[in-house]
C-alpha cells in the first residue's frame, strides 16, 4: 500500500499537489488499490508522517515538494525496507532507498515563453509567480528566455504574489496583478502561482487577453482564452512510482525534462485555434534543439540569477 504526503500548500492547490493527487487517484482507479495520504499542517509533521507511514508498512512513501528533502534524508536510514520518493527535492547524496524526481521547469517555461512572444500583439508579456522563492524564479527565468528568443525587444512584466505561503492561494491578488499587468501593456500572462493562478486566468478571460496555465493542463478552464499550459507531469511521476511499488528503483535522481515528456506545453481542442502552424513549428523546433542539447536554457539555480530578466 503506497502513501502520499502532500506539502503544506494542501492537496487541492489546483496545480502541483493536486497533480500528484490525480496521479495517485489514477493508480487507484486502475489497480483498485488504496493509498494513504495526509495534508500537513506543521513542519514537525513532516518527519512524523514519514515515520508513521513507514511504520504502518506503506511502500513506497511519496512526498511532494522540495521541503521534504531534508526530512526524507534523515528518516530513510531508519527504515531500510521502505522506499521513499521525493518530487522536486535535492540532496547532496541520495540514500539507497530514496529516489528523487525533478523537473526541468525552465525548459517547458521556455517553450510557453516563445508562444507568448509569438502571439503577443503589444510586445509585452506578463509573468505572475506565487510565493517569491527560487523555484518560481526558475519558472519565470525560462519563460523570459523563451520570449526573448522570439523577440529580443519584448518587454517582460513579472510580479510575485507575495512572500508568505498565502501567496499560493490569493486569487484576489492574482486578479489585480493581472489587471495591473494589462495596464502595463501585457496581453499574455503566465501564471506560475498555484491557486492564485485561478484568479489570473479568470481575469485574463474577463479582460479579453490570453493566459498560460501551469502544472496541469488548464486550457479547459476558459476555453479559447488560455493560450496553452506549461505541463509538469507530477501525476505521471506519482503514478509511475505507485505502479512500480515496492520494486521501484531507488538511490538516484530522475530528471524529467522535455525529453522525458516530464514537462511540455499543452495543445488540445480548447486552444487549437490560438496556435498557428508557424507557432507550432517554431516551438517544436526549439523543443527538438533543447532535447538534442543544441539549445541550452539557463536554469536560475546555476548562479541564482537570470540572463533574461532581473528578478
Amino acid at each position: 500500500e503506497p502513501a502520499l504526503i502532500f506539502d503544506l500548500g494542501g492537496k487541492f492547490d489546483k496545480s502541483f499537489n493536486e497533480a500528484a493527487f490525480r496521479g495517485a487517484q489514477r493508480w487507484a482507479d486502475e489497480t483498485g488499490g488504496k493509498f494513504l495520504e495526509i495534508e500537513l499542517q506543521s513542519e514537525a509533521q513532516r518527519e512524523q508522517a514519514l515515520r508513521r507511514f513507514a511504520e504502518a508498512g506503506a511502500n513506497p512513501v511519496i512526498t511532494t515538494g522540495f521541503a521534504f528533502a531534508t526530512p526524507v534524508e534523515s528518516v530513510a536510514g531508519d527504515y531500510p525496507d521502505t522506499k521513499f520518493v521525493n518530487i522536486d527535492g535535492w540532496m547532496p547524496e541520495v540514500p539507497a532507498n530514496v529516489q528523487l524526481i525533478g523537473f526541468q521547469e525552465h525548459q517547458g517555461s521556455y517553450l510557453v515563453g516563445m508562444l507568448a512572444a509569438m502571439s503577443s500583439k503589444t510586445g509585452t508579456v506578463g509573468f505572475i509567480g506565487g510565493m517569491d522563492i527560487p523555484l518560481i524564479r526558475h519558472f519565470g527565468c525560462g519563460y523570459a528566455q523563451g520570449a526573448k528568443a522570439v523577440n529580443p525587444d519584448i518587454k517582460i512584466v513579472a510580479n510575485m504574489t507575495g512572500t508568505t505561503p498565502a501567496a499560493w492561494n490569493d486569487p484576489v491578488k492574482g486578479s489585480e496583478l493581472t489587471k495591473a499587468q494589462i495596464s502595463q501593456g501585457a496581453d499574455i500572462v503566465y501564471a506560475a502561482a498555484g491557486g492564485t493562478g485561478v484568479g489570473v486566468l479568470q481575469t485574463a478571460a474577463d479582460e479579453g487577453i490570453l493566459s498560460i496555465g501551469v502544472d496541469s493542463n488548464q486550457n479547459h478552464l476558459h476555453s479559447g482564452k488560455v493560450l496553452t499550459s506549461m505541463t509538469k507531469r507530477v501525476d505521471v511521476a506519482v503514478y509511475n512510482s505507485m505502479m512500480a511499488g515496492a520494486e521501484m528503483e531507488t538511490g538516484g535522481f530522475t530528471t524529467l525534462g522535455l525529453a522525458e515528456e516530464g514537462v511540455g506545453w499543452a495543445l488540445d481542442e480548447h486552444n487549437a485555434p490560438l496556435i498557428s502552424d508557424d507557432m507550432k513549428a517554431a516551438v517544436e523546433d526549439a523543443r527538438a534543439k533543447i532535447i538534442s542539447g543544441d539549445l541550452e536554457v539557463v536554469a536560475y539555480y546555476t548562479n541564482d540569477s537570470c540572463p533574461a530578466y532581473d528578478f
Binding site: G10, T163, S175
Partner: protein, 322 residues
C-alpha cells in the same frame, strides 16, 4: 506617469478600497456604539464563502449575497452575545470569531464541494458584473472628463457604488437622525442612554447587526464581484487594515472614505512596482513592496493620527450591577 496610467492606478484603488470601505463602515457602526470589533476579518471571510457557495448552487448572486449577509449576522450575533449580553472581552471574542470563520469555511467548503476548501468558479448570473454607467461610451472621447468617467467612475460592480453611497448615508444616519444620536450616545456614555429610557442592549445589538450586514456586503464583494469564487483565507488581513483605517479616520464616515482610499492606493501601488520604480527611481525589493501597506499603516498610526479619541465607552461592557 501619464494620465491613463494614473486613472488605471486609481481604478485599482477603488476596486481594492471597496471591501476596506465596507468593513470600515461596519466597524464604524459597531465601535461608535461602544463595541470594538476585531472580528471584521472573520465575518467578511464567512460571508465571502457563503455568498459564493449559495451563488454557485442557486445560480443567483443576489441569493448568494443574502446568504453572505445571513452568516455574517450570525457571527455578529455571537459577538453581541459575548460582548453585550455576557459582557465578555470584545477583543478576544473578535479574535475567536475570526479563527472560527477561518476554520469553518474550509471545513464546510470541503464537505460541500470537495475542492480543498474552495468553491467552484462562478459564472454568469452567479457573479456581480461591472455596470457601464450611462453615456460612458459616448463621453469616452471627451478629453480629461471622458477617460475619467469611463475608466474610473463607470464600470464597477453594483456593490462598489453601494459602498460609496453608504458614506453619505452613514453620515446622515449618525448625525441627522434619532437613531444616530442614540447610537453615538451609547458609545460615549451608555448610562445616559439608559436613564433616558432607551435600551442600551437593543441599541448595541442593532449597531452590531448593521456591522454584520456591512461585513456581509464586503465579503460578498470579495467572492462574487472582485473574484469569481471563494478560496480559503481570501480576506487576507483586509479586516485588520479596515480597523486601522477606522482609527485613522477617527471614527468618522467621510474620513473613513479617504482613509480606505489611501489604504487601497497602497495596495494598488504594491501591484505596480514598475510605477514605484519610475517615480522614485530605484528598484524596490518585492518583500518590501509586499510589506508596504502594513509598514505605512504603522507609520500613519504612529505619526499622523495624533490623538484619535475612540468612543469613550468603547471596549467596555455596560455593567450596571457589579
Amino acid at each position: 506617469m501619464d494620465f491613463l496610467t494614473l486613472l488605471q492606478l486609481l481604478d485599482t484603488t477603488v476596486r481594492l478600497a471597496t471591501p476596506l470601505l465596507l468593513a470600515c463602515l461596519a466597524g464604524l457602526y459597531s465601535e461608535r456604539a461602544g463595541i470594538f470589533d476585531i472580528g471584521l476579518e472573520g465575518k467578511m471571510l464567512a460571508a465571502a464563502f457563503f455568498s459564493a457557495a449559495f451563488a454557485y448552487s442557486t445560480g443567483s448572486v443576489w441569493l448568494g449575497l443574502l446568504a453572505g449577509i445571513g452568516v455574517s449576522l450570525v457571527l455578529s450575533g455571537i459577538h453581541g452575545l459575548a460582548s453585550i449580553t455576557f459582557r465578555g472581552n470584545q477583543l478576544i471574542s473578535g479574535l475567536a470569531i475570526t479563527m472560527l470563520a477561518g476554520g469553518m469555511t474550509v471545513l464546510i467548503a470541503q464537505d460541500w464541494f470537495k475542492q480543498g476548501g474552495r468553491t467552484p468558479q462562478l459564472e454568469g448570473a452567479a457573479r456581480f458584473e461591472p455596470i457601464t454607467l450611462p453615456f460612458a461610451e459616448t463621453l469616452r472621447e471627451v478629453p480629461f472628463i471622458g477617460p475619467l468617467y469611463y475608466e474610473l467612475i463607470s464600470g464597477h460592480p453594483i456593490l462598489v457604488y453601494i459602498a460609496f453611497a453608504l458614506v453619505p448615508l452613514t453620515w446622515w444616519i449618525l448625525f441627522r437622525t434619532r437613531f444616530g444620536l442614540r447610537l453615538r450616545a451609547v458609545g460615549e456614555n451608555p448610562a445616559s442612554v439608559d436613564t433616558a429610557g432607551v435600551s442600551v442592549v437593543a441599541l448595541r445589538y442593532s449597531a452590531v447587526m448593521i456591522c454584520g450586514v456591512l461585513c456581509g456586503l464586503a465579503g460578498a464583494y470579495l467572492a462574487t464581484a472582485l473574484q469569481a469564487g471563494f478560496v480559503k483565507d481570501m480576506t487576507a488581513g483586509r479586516g485588520y487594515i479596515a480597523l486601522a483605517a477606522l482609527i485613522f479616520a477617527k471614527w468618522r464616515p467621510w474620513y473613513a472614505l479617504w482613509a480606505t482610499l489611501l489604504f487601497g492606493l497602497f495596495q494598488a501601488l504594491e501591484l505596480r512596482p514598475d510605477l514605484i520604480q519610475q517615480v522614485i527611481g530605484v528598484k524596490v525589493q518585492v518583500q518590501l513592496l509586499g510589506a508596504l501597506p502594513y509598514i505605512l499603516t504603522v507609520v500613519i498610526l504612529a505619526g499622523f493620527v495624533g490623538k484619535a479619541i475612540p468612543p469613550r465607552a468603547g471596549g467596555e461592557p455596560y455593567v450596571k450591577e457589579r
